[in-house]
Symmetry: C2
DNA sequence: TAGAGTGGCTAACAGTGTTAGCCACTCTAG
DNA sequence: CTAGAGTGGCTAACACTGTTAGCCACTCTA
């Protein structure tokens, strides 16, 4: 399913089409259904990959970091900005967990939970903040002139001393 | 455009279709183009309405509130949960500001900016947190058992004392 | 009274996900 | 070695989507 991922990364979600994907594989669209149950399953496969990548980014970020929460936040933001289409696909809609590779969501969540000392409320609040900052930036909701680094610092300050 | 809004509220974004809207108005789809330039303009009109509603909710919430930030957060969450389709439409994608009713976005943003003492970084961080919490809840990303009130409290604590 | 503007209409196009049904190939069981 | 099943391609088609072209009737105004 690396073809699907390439399509998404290069041309955005509008290009992730059964026919476009089939084209890229030298096949006709209906033949895809011999391998996938449908578009939802295709997206779920891409999302599963995305979670694995995010987990790796997180694990790399916390390894030996003096400030794990800050490192996770930076890694999260970078992930969103570098792979915006994938990030949106992963977060935009309710997750079809039944179609997802098992354990992949938990693995991505683990480093944050560890960084907050297993304080679930704190972890959820920090995640919400990071997701909000990232998706609002991706969607161009902040003014061009906004100092987003300052907003990140401001937010993280509140999560660092429980 | 109250018909569009009804369609969205009652049946979700998948039902907000040019043909469905035309049906509801006793018209054929192409005739809509005599009044609107296309679907983007239709969505922008609905979004403009949404911003006005959100602004009213905010203005009502801060009026005489002892804790303006907490009141805004509660109003924000309530807005998202009560009108999930509208909320998603308003936040999910980059804004077509050129199609939006003028001033409506600023009006909705004003109460938060006031509540943070015009600290823009703080306002953006608080907004990102509230949006993250709301959209993650809407998308079913938190576990069923999660104590979201605790997460909201946890997050707001960090924004309250600058 | 002519002309312009308004707002409806049908027909059509290119695109979407998806299904039905057909056909060739390969692998395995007897 | 051959029969049968399974695999993985195919075309044709359906019901949708947003959108355009072109036509036609009505009303308002000069």
């Amino acid at each position: 399913m690396t073809a699907a991922r390439a399509l998404l990364d290069e041309e955005g979600p509008g290009a992730l089409t059964m026919r476009r994907l089939a084209d890229r594989l030298g096949i006709r669209a209906p033949s895809l259904y011999k391998h996938l149950s449908g578009k939802e399953a295709l997206e779920a496969a891409v999302i599963s990959d995305g979670f694995a990548e995010l987990a790796e980014a997180f694990e790399g970020a916390v390894a030996g970091a003096a400030d794990p929460l800050g490192a996770l936040a930076a890694a999260y933001r970078r992930f969103g900005l570098e792979k915006p289409h994938l990030y949106r696909l992963m977060t935009e809609r309710p997750l079809r967990r039944d179609l997802l590779a098992s354990g992949v969501e938990e693995r991505a969540a683990a480093p944050l939970l560890a960084a907050t000392g297993r304080d679930e409320a704190l972890a959820r609040a920090a995640w919400a903040f990071a997701h909000g900052m990232t998706v609002l930036e991706l969607n161009g909701r902040f003014p061009e002139s906004a100092d987003l680094d300052a907003a990140w610092r401001q937010g993280l300050r509140g999560f660092r001393r429980p």
